[in-house]
């Protein structure tokens, strides 16, 4: 998975707030939502943003806290728009 780190080593809450504050097209998904072959970890509802052809999402690493990632996501954006559950 190619990605750019927008916000490193933060709490999940800080990452969620960052996404909500900095992007307009936001979808809320449940914990365990599958995207890029990963199951999202976090406190639901988990905000995921779409920005042009990129997906902006929180990503929790056990050792390093939570990150906000920008991932090229053309193939996932359609599914995300269709599967919003919150």
């Amino acid at each position: 998975m190619n990605y750019e780190i927008l916000l490193p080593n933060s709490s999940f809450k800080e990452c969620a707030e960052y996404i909500k504050k900095n992007f307009k097209e936001i979808y809320y998904v449940p914990a365990g939502f599958k995207i890029f072959d990963n199951y999202l970890v976090g406190i639901p509802p988990i905000p995921i943003a779409v920005d042009n052809d990129d997906i902006i999402m929180p990503y929790v690493k056990p050792c390093h806290g939570c990150f906000v990632l920008r991932v090229p996501g053309k193939e996932e954006i359609g599914g995300l728009r269709r599967s919003e559950t919150f």
């Binding site: 709490s11 999940f12 809450k13 449940p30 914990a31 365990g32 939502f33 599958k34 990963n38 199951y39 999202l40 970890v41 976090g42 406190i43 639901p44 929790v60 690493k61 056990p62 050792c63 390093h64 806290g65 939570c66």
Partner: protein, 145 residues
């Protein structure tokens, strides 16, 4: 369910809880990242306490896909990441969750785990305070009823 094993008490507490559960007749599966599982397996080479292990991401995936579930899930928490894993388990599993909280600053973690059974002690290197809290629970099976 274990995250980063940077605090030494995690491995000791996991082995201790696994033994207690085994004695109560539970089938215990230990899920963790590679380092956490490696510590467990190296601490129990003859598998007296740790019978089955599972990669943390695979465990989350199996729970999310509903191909597996548990009666009880102990989530080891010493940081905000642990809180995220606890919330995830509560969301994707029917298991009764037990938050095993340790480290230096446990109060915010306790507050964030309020809707789980909480076992918490200020403990980093010495597992005794955490073990005392674990011993305070007389029967884990009672939580499944």
């Amino acid at each position: 369910m274990m995250g980063c094993p940077e605090l030494p008490v995690q491995t000791a507490a996991a082995l201790y809880i696994a033994n207690k559960l085994d004695r109560e007749g539970f089938e215990v599966i230990s899920a963790g990242n590679k380092a956490a599982i490696s510590l467990l397996l190296n601490s129990d080479p003859e598998k007296h306490y740790i019978k089955k292990v599972m990669d943390l991401d695979r465990c989350i995936g199996a729970l999310a896909e509903k191909t597996m579930d548990f009666d009880l899930c102990f989530v080891f928490i010493h940081s905000d990441s642990g809180i995220s894993y606890l919330a995830t388990i509560k969301s994707i599993s029917k298991a009764k969750t037990i938050a095993v909280i340790f480290g230096k600053e446990i109060e915010p973690l306790i507050e964030a785990s309020a809707d789980s059974v909480i076992i918490a002690a200020k403990a980093v290197h010495n597992p005794t305070p955490l073990r005392a809290k674990i011993d305070g629970v007389k029967s884990w099976a009672a939580l499944t009823r």
